[in-house]
Every structure is written in C-alpha cells, then in structure tokens.
Amino acid sequence: MSESLTFHFDVNGEDFTSAGQASVRFKKNMRELGVDPEIIRRASIAMYEGEINMVIHAHGGVADVEVSEDAIKIVLKDQGPGIPDIAKAMQEGYSTAPDNIRSLGFGAGMGLPNMKRYTDEMQIESTVGVGTTVTMKINLN
C-alpha cells in the first residue's frame, strides 16, 4: 500500500435496529486489505460505537475512512445537537441515551470511552446546535 485508500459510508439515522451496517462493511473492507485482525477488531468496534452514537443522538451522519501505510483514520461527522460537556461525556457510565435505546442494550455510557480505549488517538470537536466531528486514528505498526 503506497498511497491512501478512502472509504465513505452514510449512516442512516432512521432505523436504529439496522445500525452497524457501515461498521460491518468497514470490517469487510479492512479484511480484504489484509489488515491485522486485532487492529480490524479495535477499529471496527470504535467505528460501531461512533455509528451508534450518531444514530441515537444525531439522526445519522457520515463516516469517512482513510487507510494509509501507517494508520487507519476514521472521521465521523454529524449535524446533531452537539456535546455540551465533552469531559463529562467521556466518563464511563455517563449517558444521555433515552429509555427506548437503553432497552435495546445501549446507553451504558461506554460508547465514547470504548472509542478512546480502542484507538491510538481520538479528538472530538463539537458545537452545540451545529454538530459533532470525531476523529480517530489507529496505528498499523
């Protein structure tokens, strides 16, 4: 791999039960590229958590992935309500997910912490009323 490869995914915010399609497709793409299985696992879980967040909180969004020689970069962008207090949102156990989402097994307050746990770098840029962009990087070496 000498130059970067890019993948674009639309995350549909209408249907919560089918959330995860982008991450599962992403995982397949990475397998085809021959990326190390443990790195694929970490990257796809981080992306899935981000995808779920966009569906729960922001009516969907877009995911752009760039695979270069030394890293996978995932950028998740939504036009949702934004995160007023990022430090609080990063705390394990803190969640603002509604009850119907909790009944599906989400809303444990582990989404953002898992994204941080499974990636090497993570940045959140968020403006209330405008949207949120999460950038994650997973090193390949």
Partner: protein, 109 residues
Amino acid sequence: MTVAEFAKKYSLEVLSLPAPEREIKGGYMGDLLSWVMGRAKADQAWITIMSNQNIIAVATLIDFACIILAEDVRLEENLIETAKTKGVNILTTKLPAFEVACEICQEIK
C-alpha cells in the same frame, strides 16, 4: 470444544450454525452491548438475553464463537436468516445465563 459439539453435548437448540467448527475459547456474559464490546474477546461464547438485531452486529465485530441466548429467549425469523448470512452462530437454551456459563467453564478449564 467446537460450537456444534457444545450444542450437542448440552442440548442447546440451534438457531443459526453457519460456522459449526468454530472453537469456543472462553465465555462472556452481559446484556449492555457497549460494556460487552469494551470487555469481551474474540472466540468467546457470548451469553445474553438481548435479542434485537444489534447483537448480530456486535457478535460480528467482536468475532464471537457464538451467541447463546439464555432463559429461552427467542429470535425473530428474519434475524435468524441475517445471522446465517453473516456467519454468526446462535444457540438458545431454557437455562439461566449463570448455568450456561457453568457448562462453558467445565469445557474450557
């Protein structure tokens, strides 16, 4: 022990078994999906009572050996079909989660 061998030995009902030869190398029990994704490991059998479509995505991403639905939890037919096409093994049992976990323990000690 493979998923197929485990299902047979402990009389679990098979809902989806596209990869019968997968080896069970441990177990994880939990229903909060993000918690599971933060802690579980590949090749484990995942015991849960959750039965919505998201469990198939979680199992695919974590790369579980199988999902075991405890307490006689059932899965809708269309989800069973999805699991088969995605290569996700799913078993179900009337036993409570704790007792299934005990059975897994006996096999992986």
